[in-house]
Symmetry: C2
Subunit: 264 residues, 2 copies
């Protein structure tokens, strides 16, 4: 049975979080924030013939969440689509041709925020933000929408990079770029914050509690010092690149550290 909430994705059997429900969220803001903070998406699709080959396949891909019809819409109030890109001749780009209503896929993104160490291994955990979306993928053919998606995917790597690159794409580049748009049917997020939760019995045992360090080792993806290519002719690193690196590193480090003390 579908649960419909304003500014949230539907929760149905398929995407309902059943374990540790207090960590689940279905609202646009949480789901979109996770997908747009994650570097790599994992995209699953079914085998062409399950009788012949029983396995689903996952491909790691780059992508972003945005809305072509409402490009400046607020993350928290606008349902967004997932755009994925790959080579036009790749397997995933060709598969939707056999599915006129779209290829049913699942897209997953996860960010590790910390390693949570408890007295007993059973209570070890991770702080993380994850999101999973189910939807139908179709190739984008409209030229304006393709350009919009390419711009957003490029800027999801480095904000402002599209405008600071050689544009527009050549005809050959355009032809070789496959863009899939995933219209989200259901989506959910799962997040953990805080420190370890140990058993009272362990906490009261002086031999256990007195000898085992417990706490959180925060984790985040760091961007290192940019290394110019051998062909690079621009001596000074552009400001937008340096600023992006600094603010991204700062924001990620701050989140991972702050997550340790957030209420579970």
């Amino acid at each position: 049975m579908a649960m419909s909430t304003k500014n949230a994705y539907n929760a149905v059997m398929r995407n309902s979080v059943r374990r540790a429900r207090q960590r689940a969220a279905y609202d646009y803001k949480t789901v979109h924030s996770v997908f747009n903070a994650a570097s790599i998406y994992h995209v699953a699709f079914l085998p062409a013939d399950p009788q012949d080959d029983p396995f689903p396949t996952i491909l790691p891909m780059l992508g972003t969440m945005c809305s072509f019809s409402n490009p400046t819409g607020d993350l928290a109030n606008t349902p967004l689509d997932i755009y994925l890109h790959g080579h036009a001749a790749s397997r995933l780009m060709k598969l939707p041709k056999d599915h006129p209503d779209g290829l049913p896929i699942c897209v997953s993104a996860a960010i590790l925020d910390g390693i949570v160490l408890a007295l007993a291994p059973f209570h070890n955990s991770c702080n993380y933000r994850s999101a999973v979306a189910h939807g139908y993928a179709v190739p984008v053919t409209d030229e304006k929408e393709r350009l919009f998606a390419m711009t957003r995917i490029t800027d999801s790597l480095v904000p402002g990079r599209w405008d600071n690159s050689r544009n527009p794409p050549t005809k050959g580049e355009d032809r070789s770029t496959g863009i899939l748009k995933v219209t989200v049917e259901t989506a959910s997020a799962k997040t953990r914050v805080g420190g370890p939760s140990d058993d009272k019995k362990d906490l009261k045992d002086p031999e256990v509690a007195g000898s085992i360090w417990t706490g959180v080792v925060p984790a985040w993806e760091t961007l290192g010092a940019p290394q110019a290519s051998s062909e690079n002719k621009v001596i000074d690193l552009p400001t937008y690149l340096g600023d992006w690196r600094k603010s991204t590193n700062h924001g990620r480090e701050q989140y991972a550290n702050a997550a340790v003390n957030l209420e579970k």
Copy 2:
């Protein structure tokens, strides 16, 4: 048609890398190294009834690759299994009951090593290490194998943590822990290293090449300063934790930076 190579997983249609084949690898060492360096696995399974629900589902999970029958075997010469853990009552732990020969699943892991910025957005890329495995998942019931898997999964978070924790698990903890063993049928890895590859035409255009910075922004997962829990009684951070953090950060940073200059 299966291609069988010594110390490598089979390459069949399902797992053969078709785009950028020079980035593909099937050997044990590469596949195992990626899975054992990645923090989070993405695990896909098919819908119970595709007529009723057409979508595959992905769950982010913790796990590790190892061999119970050959626990000290060399990573490069021993086929390994994937062990996943979760709550015994979770959906994925219960699903294999309907599949006496194992639940067909796909496990994916990806590590971002850098953002590759070219003159044209089309040539932007990422340095990464990724691996995808297909196999049959069965719940582990043998007590010795369960303990082996729990130990390895714990130590995959922080080496040595199992022995430095409260052991053994209580009966309740053991009952609540679900362990899946995935016997790998096929697996492949895909890796990118190096700097951007631009079109000659762009490189020769002084307006383009003279105004756009190109190169790589290395990226790696950093472990921050450990934060003790409010219940922690061990004042000094144990050496194994501090050493692990330092060497992990050092190794990851070094790899991401070195990857920029490796031969594509």
